[in-house]
Symmetry: C2
Subunit: 606 residues, 2 copies
């Protein structure tokens, strides 16, 4: 049977001759996004054939120069093949949008709760009545000025304690953290080990990001992002919760596989011993955290929308299934509502909401769900709205993530000449979220579509009207349909009306906002003028709008490295008043008003 | 391949035709004691053939009436066989010596640290900002008057909390225990569950006893004892510690198998759901506890004799590998020295040492190791001596445990007529510890042996002198040799001289002792006059000598059921001054003096 090697994961599997390559990928546990259902349309499953020959269905998309094929249109021949998943794993090269100025977010003292200390243990003496553990305890009580109510030692450490205390004349390095006044031992190691690591994890509905960090200097060793392997079980949160009714274990192991795979790749690449990763912090929305821990998520989506838990207790890595040092504590950014999760509380750490400032800010984290905070040092309101996947390229026929070849900018002259820009200037393969905003904004400005998003009679030769939905040709192969435009309008309408509802709640208007902070993958390539044109953002001065990147992972990173930030995120969570939009009487009117380009109340966009 | 069924464990294994039955037993993980190395001499591997035919080596011992054969002398034929291990598992029938008056040891209030409480959880309400866990926490804080610093919920409970809180209108039963001011949740179950259980375990070097107990009434549901499956890796502690250098994992899984097998048998027999066993307490000597937890035991036996740990922290059942409710706390009786372990501190709970009495007592726990306490409410000295296995029938050619068919009493008239008594009046198959004491005492009294344990010229026809060691015929098949007698003298000499050393340390004599408490398997059938004759016990009035049975398991049972006894055993451990006999200058003289019958200083036995 031919061997199929999947890169960059380096997973090898034996597959049947003439079987679909997609099937082999699934058997290998390699995550491949196929939102079009394997029909060869969405082109999200693009892979590079590194070696070996495969059988590509005639007529399906391929790029012979780059050796790119669609995995869903390819069968295995009777020979070994090595392929590289292009849509899957991305590294520091920035194909995912977590690239930003690290120094800017690093304005805090590195002071993680997990610490190390070098100890000189008392020598064992005849008839001193002290066991090894007693000697350790005595040394600790001498060394620490803090009150120590109890010392907790994991059984795994106790098992080899006799050797540890004897191998270097009683000199050891201890990893530990305090919880209340209890000293928790994480590990006891040779003093010659100098490198200790932590890991920050952002569990998104669609993507998962892992940062491995030096716990002493705070330096980011490596960052990687991959698709959440749960996406094969449903693209949005509600589908996942439904899927969990019968398959909670599967969802849990899928996200664990994604995370552990990323950890393995980073640690292999950087020659990091995973047992030296002593602390993990995790940010994710309420549902993702429930699924990650295998907690029944059912009641998140059922009235009265009560999750099992908002503030997850500290568990150790072994309990959670993350493959780092088994005794490493795992800390979670707290949730405040069914749809306002740890991703946004962690994200708030990147905004002035964690400072004592009275300027009013709006914090938008736009992904599959839009999560929004409005507040200052006196109040914080939070809400969530379902934007749908349009901003991430989902629900759009040629939609794709903001990666190589994605159209992110579109212009059309009055004579109908189209100019496009793609990410990395690669040949266009689809349209990312900011591209859709650009296209819709430009088409609306040039009267190609009307305020309801329907094609006018301009440029009829560029519009395919043989059946609904009508489609407009962006390139020879890539189109945007009225259905796509409708998806975008509903998405921007959901976000905009949610912001308005929060403002109304406080008797505020957009003009009262001092700053708008935008987080989430799509924002990086976002043209703010286009966003205003379609009515996603109000007409406020551009200098008031600040793009922050993936604030969920940046917040998780801050929690990891700073005990103070860890306390701060808890305070922020306690301060947020959760607004349930489905129970807000004004929201539906706001939403209906926002289902036009830019809005029924065009005064808002003057 | 023929199927071999081992009863009462009901373990079935396929074995090769013509292969040794002993090999099949080992492959099946069925513990069979073969101290003679499978030579057919010790008769400790006696089994009953319940169905099927086997091939017994010609000339080897068998009892055709009872269908008893020696497992080490038997090969499998080409047919299925069902056999019952006679030497292995014993139940309440009392073949092992843990039978005693339960009421007498039950003189404490049943108040275990693990408790249950029925709760009515607040209903989930829209926008109350409370997760399920928050609602539980709120209900707990209302219900408890104690200070609750933190509430710890195991992940496994959190996973299904949403269902638990909703299935019965918010009525639940919670199992929990406090540790400092932290509330530890063990389980949340349906209020209709009324039975909750605990388990007391005595891990002996040779045998393991498990009691399953009703945690509310304190009633003992069932008691079972089995051989410690580690005995195949060495009979005594030192051999086990040496074996652990390369095979610690094996030793750990052997003892876990023994314990889990006993739990399974008891819970099956009594239809107890093992998930309803919510608490375990364990007593065992220092080495056994190290091996049970997989802790390196090496330094217990190396100068300066420093174990890894005396006071084991509370672990949960999952961590320890005991198959009961995974979150059940497991508590250990504390050790005080390399050879004065939790078995003796737990045992001390059965003596006036745990009361505020000034009467001086001597507490002897005699097994493979002799552990001795001397003290009252003002002082406690503790020491251990290696008695060897003689008192348990080991190291004696025809020695056996105090079970059916063991000779436990021997008389010989001046004309040489021998009268014996056996346990259960069964046909004699060997000699148990008390039997050896009886035989040696009687032979010394009747001048058949001298003070050094050598045969005199009395009854020469009963003595086989063709080669050393000379042997005396007790029955046609069962003999006692000078080597056997020598073993016994060394064993009693070790115990007696240890007692004397402790007394000397305090400037006391035997006459100062108010009571002698004897624990350990061999004591049950012990004739005190015989014990005095050989010099094991001093000549003090019989009413001062009290036999207590297996105090290790009784102590574990008390710790299980009583928070107060749990604290008491810690106090006792703290009060014990450990005397290391190998460092005591006077001990060797005492020992040498005790290597005669009854003693070189016969004034002690007047």
């Amino acid at each position: 049977m031919p061997k199929i090697t999947f890169m960059p994961q380096n997973i090898i599997i034996e597959a049947k001759t003439a079987s679909p390559l997609l099937e082999a990928a699934r058997l290998a546990g390699v995550s491949v996004e196929t939102p079009c259902g394997g029909k060869g349309v969405c082109r999200k499953c693009l892979v590079k054939i590194i070696s070996g020959k495969v059988d590509v269905k005639s007529g399906s998309y391929k790029n012979s120069k780059e050796n790119h094929v669609l995995i869903c249109q390819t069968n295995i021949l009777d020979e070994d093949v090595t392929i590289e998943i292009l849509s899957g794993l991305y590294g520091e090269e920035g194909k995912f949008d977590d690239v930003f100025d690290v120094k800017k977010i690093n304005d805090f003292t590195v002071n993680p709760i997990v610490k190390q200390i070098d100890l000189q243990i008392l020598k064992a003496a005849p008839l001193d009545g002290l066991s090894d553990f007693d000697r350790l305890e005595k040394s600790l009580k001498l060394k620490f000025s803090e009150i120590i109510k109890s010392i907790k030692i994991p059984l795994e450490i106790l098992k080899t304690l006799p050797l540890k205390l004897r191998e270097n004349d009683g000199k050891v390095k201890m990893l530990y953290y305090f919880e209340n006044e209890n000293l928790n031992i994480i590990d006891i190691i040779n003093i010659e080990n100098t490198n200790i690591y932590g890991i920050a994890i952002d569990i998104g509905t669609t993507t998962v990001t892992v940062w491995i960090v030096d716990l002493i200097t705070g330096k980011i060793i490596s960052r990687k992002t991959d698709y959440n392997a749960q996406i094969e079980c449903g693209l949005d949160i509600i589908t996942r919760i439904n899927y969990a009714q019968k398959n909670l274990n599967e969802l849990q192991s899928r996200i664990l596989n994604t995370i552990n795979n990323l950890i393995k790749i980073i640690s292999d690449e950087n020659k990091i011993n995973i047992n030296r990763i002593y602390y993990a912090s995790i940010a994710g929305n309420t549902t993702m955290i429930h699924l990650f821990l295998g907690i029944i998520p059912e009641y998140i989506r059922l009235d009265p929308y009560t999750p099992a838990v908002f503030k997850i207790p500290v568990f150790n890595a072994f309990e959670t299934g993350i493959k780092i040092n088994i005794n490493a504590p795992v800390k979670f950014a707290p949730s405040v509502g069914s749809y306002v999760g740890g991703d946004i509380t962690a994200g708030a750490l990147c905004t002035p909401l964690c400072e004592d400032k009275n300027e009013i800010i709006l914090f938008l984290d736009i992904g599959t769900n839009g999560e929004i905070l409005l507040g200052n040092n006196e109040f914080i309101l939070g809400c969530a709205c379902s934007a749908g996947p349009a901003f991430e390229g989902g629900g759009i026929e040629f939609g794709m993530r903001a990666s190589q070849g994605a159209i992110d900018c579109f212009n059309i002259s009055e004579t109908g000449e189209i100019t496009i820009k793609t990410i990395d200037n690669a040949p266009p393969v689809g349209i990312c979220g900011s591209g859709i905003i650009s296209i819709v904004g430009e088409m609306f400005e040039k009267n190609i579509i009307d305020a309801a998003g329907r094609f006018t009679d301009k440029f009829p030769d560029k519009i395919k009207k043989d059946k609904k939905p009508y489609k407009f040709y962006i390139t020879e192969n890539i189109t945007i349909s009225e259905a796509d435009i409708d998806n975008l309008i509903r998405a921007k309408g959901a976000i905009f009306s949610a912001c308005r509802t929060l403002l109304n709640n406080m008797g505020l208007a957009f003009d009262d906002i001092d700053k708008i902070y935008i987080a989430g993958g799509f924002g990086r390539y976002l043209n703010i003028e286009n966003a205003k044109t379609i009515g996603l953002l109000p007409n406020i001065p551009p200098e008031k709008i600040i793009y922050l990147g993936n604030t969920s992972i940046i917040g998780a990173y801050q929690i990891l490295l700073s005990e103070e930030k860890g306390k701060k995120v808890m305070e922020i969570a306690d301060r947020i008043t959760y607004i349930d939009l489905s129970n807000e009487s004004g929201y539906m009117d706001e939403y209906l008003g926002a289902l036009f380009l830019p809005h029924t109340d065009s005064d808002l966009f003057k």
